[in-house]
Symmetry: C2
Subunit: 338 residues, 2 copies
């Protein structure tokens, strides 16, 4: 076992689109643990779009990622050493260990969960049976709440969240329509995930053009939108929204680099009597148990499909993260630590 802990720090804040220069790899000694602490070896890092927001110091719902500190993020790994009676070496755990190989955790302060990898692989606890899955579950069941026969659209449909949204919508008897970038992703969404249709936004850049493509994919209009992108994609969806349509506003990746993303016709919210709700899944902890029970069961029984894009080695994390922001991944973007 090596005695150093490789870490990736936030070296500088991005001006527009992040670059590799915003990150710095350092080596530090593996810390020793005190009473009540646990040393965890991270096996997988979760890369998520919300991290882009924290790299800036603009006002947001989360405190910004501090400069020169280890990049924050969800992790799955294994207990190496424990001085907490609730954990033992070999335990599989998920937590918020950041972009590093080892992390010291004080479990009594919360934030470290043992997970059962008998039927669900460890990495899935960072995807469909973790934060992305619960995000999909919450927005779909608590905000959109589709009735059988209704149509639900989800943008970034091939991603970790979007892929779950559409499958849960199908399980509830709704028509699921994805929006994704390029024929490969769209093919995956329909053929592998079982969505009813998928619109390639890269083939329909102009809002009216995209709205026409949505009309074809959603012949009965749109009753629910799980929105991950915003910008012209949301504008086009609103043009096809039915009366009483619901928008679960989960992300607006179109604007994450600071470009203005005005909503062109907010009056449609009124004329269609729409309901729009922004949400952060970590503020709805009461929903997690029910969500994880359903999601864990579906993954364990093979009824919920998911794909992972895995970058190898901590040093690959920054580039993988930039790729995620550019939509280069399919499904959940992870980093596997050696």
């Amino acid at each position: 076992m090596t005695t150093t802990n490789a870490q990736i720090l936030l070296a500088s804040r991005p001006d527009g689109e992040p670059t590799l220069d915003n990150f710095r790899l350092v080596e530090t000694p593996i810390p020793t643990i005190g009473d009540g602490q646990v040393l965890v070896r991270n096996r997988f890092l979760s890369l998520d779009p919300y991290m882009r927001g924290r790299m800036s110091d603009a006002k947001s719902y989360a405190a910004p990622q501090p400069l020169d500190q280890v990049m924050l993020g969800g992790t799955a790994g294994e207990v190496v050493e424990s001085r907490d009676p609730g954990f033992a070496a070999g335990d599989q755990v998920v937590g918020f260990g950041g972009w590093q190989q080892y992390v010291v955790v004080t479990p009594s302060r919360g934030g470290l969960q043992k997970v059962d990898t008998t039927h669900v692989p460890l990495s899935a606890y960072l995807g469909p049976v973790g934060m992305p899955g619960v995000t999909a579950w919450y927005g779909l069941t608590r905000i959109i709440a589709p009735k059988a026969g209704e149509t639900v659209v989800v943008s970034a449909a091939s991603g970790a969240v979007g892929s779950v949204v559409g499958q849960l919508a199908k399980l509830r008897g709704a028509r699921a329509v994805g929006i994704a970038g390029g024929p490969t992703k769209c093919g995956y969404v329909v053929d592998e995930l079982g969505f009813d249709a998928c619109v390639d936004y890269k083939a329909h850049r102009e809002v009216r053009d995209l709205a026409r493509a949505l009309k074809e994919a959603c012949p009965d209009g749109i009753d629910g939108d799980f929105e991950n992108v915003g910008g012209t994609i949301l504008d086009a969806i609103m043009l096809r929204a039915n009366a009483f349509a619901r928008v679960a506003l989960c992300g607006m990746i179109a604007g994450y680099n600071g470009a203005p993303i005005p909503m062109a016709m907010p009056q449609l919210l009124l004329t269609n009597r729409m309901k729009l709700e922004g949400f952060i899944v970590s503020e709805h902890m009461d929903a997690w148990p029910a969500a994880l029970q359903e999601l864990g069961g579906l993954v364990a029984t093979g009824k919920l499909r998911y794909t992972e894009t895995i970058a190898e080695g901590l040093e690959a994390a920054p580039e993988a993260f930039l790729g995620l922001l550019r939509g280069r991944n399919l499904g959940k973007q992870l980093v596997r630590l050696s």
Copy 2:
């Protein structure tokens, strides 16, 4: 009693802002009634911003006002002759009689209500104890649902709806802040209606400037917005919204003449985890009895203040309506028929 029925028809659809040329006054015979019918003499016409939408034939929640037909609209009046056993000459009634002196109604088809004018004046059934009042009640209590100590903002605060919103918010222990055009309206909102503050949007045309004025009027931020105007007013409110703020989207008069009214920063809906809901009060009939009970009680006991701007004579209706769209009225805009 005259034998003719003066009526105002929609002569043409407006291109942008409506003009007097869009209306036409005609005289027709007073119709005779058949079995089960009632002849009502209208005493008051209600003029409401929603009528602007119906003058166009753009897609909206309501069917457009037909050309060359009597302008649709709410009315309060008196039964002149009845061949329905439920009504008698002299009954005070409210209904949807349109811009005319007389109307024949078949009460069994719905749409005609007897009202008690012992403690509530007839005209108030077109204002605080009618559609505008219930609109305010629904958006405030069912969508914004303010807690004591929260801050509620309402645009078009001196109007028939806005004036009720702020007073109901105060009665629930919230801070009520109006937005209105000009010092007279703002003075009325604070001094007569008892709002805590009122911002004159005409003195703060630029969105950042208006947001600064709102910051002063709402030192603890904004928890609820009852939105009647949209455009830069909504943009400025969103800049001051607190986490979990609710927007009851009732009207967007800023865009009624066809000007684009993009929402500048929809990402605030996400970062502030806001909830926004468009609504039409006529689709929530289940709320009316509770609303009318509270509103009627408050008006009868003098606890809910309201003001009427009354134009005299049917022929004054078009000009009064254009004035309403330009914000020339204070409180409820009515037309009294001679």
